[in-house]
């Protein structure tokens, strides 16, 4: 445990001195938090939703909105659209950190002395993984709290605001978020073990954000309804996927191959 803790602290000391990483880690969550707040502000300051009734809304919104009226349901549907956007933060942030932390060890030739110590592969990967997951999850949670506070100030109907604290959001933010983070880290570790440039690792890892973007688009177009059942299934699937991915990440992290093949 001490080794994992030391790796996490070392990673943070190193990675956060990299301006590009710092920018990615702070800018994306900031943007994802600010964007829905701006939209809520604009929607709240106009009367565009005043005449909307529940009959005007797509049928899949009905179970989501419950007792809310047409305009409030519309507002809540907008609020909920950003739920999946929030889910992108825990995927992208750790991918950036993990990509830099492992490929960085290769390029600066620090991996050899590290591997010559009694530290195990699992300890290295857990340490580096958590160094990415912890800030990613924390920024997601902080972003969510800022969003909820902003919504509280800007949305007049408390019933809409209280929906931000219903089980759907709680499971999404506090369970799916960390699971997505773990997925991002495991993917980055696998890719980083095979490439020699952090930018290449990050670009390849970026492809794996596409499923989340797909979910976002699916929800926007009404093809997918993100409700409690969906999010619970997603959490279960991610849990299994994370175990499988971490197993493969450990397998792919071949000490000998990394040492003898790096350029």
């Amino acid at each position: 445990m001490e080794r994992i803790k030391a790796i996490i602290i070392k990673e943070w000391r190193e990675v956060f001195k990299n301006k590009f990483v710092l920018f990615t880690v702070s800018f994306l969550p900031l943007m994802i938090t600010a964007l829905p707040l701006v939209i809520l502000y604009v929607a709240g300051s106009s009367d565009g939703f005043a005449g909307i009734s529940t009959a005007d809304l797509p049928p899949q919104f009905e179970p989501l909105c419950g007792e809310l009226g047409g305009s409030d349901c519309m507002l809540y549907s907008i609020v909920t659209q950003f739920l999946l956007l929030f889910m992108m933060v825990p995927v992208i942030v750790p991918m950036t950190i993990a990509s830099y932390s492992i490929v960085g060890e290769k390029t600066t030739r620090t991996l050899e002395p590290l591997l010559a110590t009694p530290v195990t592969t699992v300890e290295i990967l857990v340490g580096k993984g958590l160094a990415g997951v912890i800030p990613a999850v924390l920024t997601t949670w902080i972003g969510y709290l800022i969003y909820a506070a902003g919504a509280y100030l800007m949305v007049s109907n408390p019933a809409v605001v209280s929906k931000l604290f219903d089980p759907l959001w709680m499971i999404a933010i506090f369970l799916v978020g960390p699971l997505l983070s773990l997925m991002g880290v495991s993917i980055s570790v696998m890719i980083s073990s095979r490439v020699n440039d952090p930018r290449v690792a990050e670009q390849i890892s970026g492809i794996f954000v596409l499923p989340v973007v797909g979910l976002f688009i699916g929800q926007m177009t009404g093809m997918i309804l993100v409700n409690e059942t969906f999010i619970l299934w997603l959490a279960a699937a991610l849990f299994v996927l994370d175990i499988i991915l971490f197993y493969f990440a450990v397998q792919v992290f071949q000490r000998e191959t990394i040492l003898s093949r790096w350029k």
Binding site: E2, R3, K5, A6, K10, R13, E14, K17, T108, R109, T110, L111, E112, P113, L114, L115, A116, T117, P118, V119, T120, R255, E256, L259, S260
Partner: protein, 316 residues
């Protein structure tokens, strides 16, 4: 302070990368407290050998035991017992000297990290710069810090891979002096180097390898084995009659007169030189000095490498 317990024993140790055999059936043993040099040209398998012994690479064949543990079976135990200075120092530039050492100390599960950091940073003259980012350090300082890192957990065996490579003469000298200090403490050191003068000065024994083992012995013994022992007699005047007088002795060979010197290969100079000096004086020579013609380890190395080249040409 060398004792007879071998701390490293390899038996037909082999490492292949695909078709390429980097280390071929290397058999050697290193005694505890010995400074052991691994010499050879680029690509000779020195670093691969060190990496196998440091439990970083898995041997393709043969066996190796380090500090009582089998490579490939007890790798975690071996890593606890060794310290490694790789070819490149491999330090975290954005961390301070102290943070670098503290991190590696944690990897060894050390409890006295702070004391050990102070001990080695003071010893290597880096204590006053402990809070500075390693990225600001000169090459020599980085190398010293990397040596401190390798020693931090007081390993039984220290592997130094090209410790003075790329350093300026002053920094090289500092590193060499520190290795000499470590030698004085009786530490077991495996040193790979291209600097043959350094190996000659520091190593108790050297192994010359080029994929496989070419020669293994103390530098002095290697010189004797390859070139024999040559004695130089400095005379007021050398002539052919004195050369002939020397050639009469059965234990003398290859006698030459060069300027005012006579050079001769002598089997046992300690025992036989007095007879030779007597013969020279009786032959009318005025002996000014007598000394041994000291061959450099570089000559031994080049001779061995030349033999390989000749062998390869012969095959072709």
């Amino acid at each position: 302070m060398i004792n007879n317990d071998p701390i490293i024993v390899t038996e037909k140790l082999t490492k292949s990368f695909g078709e390429n055999v980097a280390v071929n059936q290397l058999t050697l043993s290193v005694q505890s407290g010995e400074v052991f040099g691994l010499l050879g040209p680029n690509g000779a398998g020195k670093t691969t050998t060190v990496r196998m012994l440091a439990a970083l690479l898995i041997p393709s064949g043969g066996t190796a035991r380090v500090a009582g543990f089998q490579v490939g079976e007890n790798d975690q135990d071996i890593r606890r017992k060794i310290g490694l200075l790789p070819e490149s120092p491999g330090l975290y530039d954005s961390l301070s000297a102290e943070q670098n050492l503290a991190f590696f100390g944690s990897m060894y599960g050390m409890e006295n990290i702070a004391e050990q950091i102070q001990k080695y940073l003071e010893l290597l003259g880096l204590w006053n710069r402990r809070y500075e980012s390693v990225g600001t350090f000169s090459k020599g300082m980085r190398q010293k810090l990397a040596i401190a890192r390798a020693l931090l957990h007081e390993p039984d065996v220290l592997f130094l891979d090209e410790p003075t490579s790329g350093l300026d003469p002053q920094a090289s000298r500092l590193v060499r002096e520190f290795i000499e200090e470590l030698r004085g403490e009786g530490r077991t050191i495996i040193l790979t180097t291209h600097n043959l003068e350094e190996a000659d000065r520091l190593c108790d024994r050297v192994a010359v390898i080029s994929g496989h083992l070419l020669a293994l012995d103390a530098p002095g013994e290697l010189r004797r084995k390859i070139f024999g022992r040559k004695v130089v007699f400095h005379l007021r005047e050398a002539n052919q009659s004195l050369v002939k007088a020397m050639e009469k002795f059965p234990f003398v060979s290859d006698v030459q007169a060069v300027d005012n010197k006579i050079l001769a290969a002598v089997e046992n100079p300690e025992e036989q030189n007095p007879q030779l000096i007597r013969a020279l004086v009786e032959g009318g020579a005025e002996v000014q000095f007598v000394g041994e013609l000291r061959r450099r380890l570089e000559d031994v190395y080049l001779e061995l490498m030349g033999a390989i080249e000749d062998n390869n040409h012969g095959k072709n």
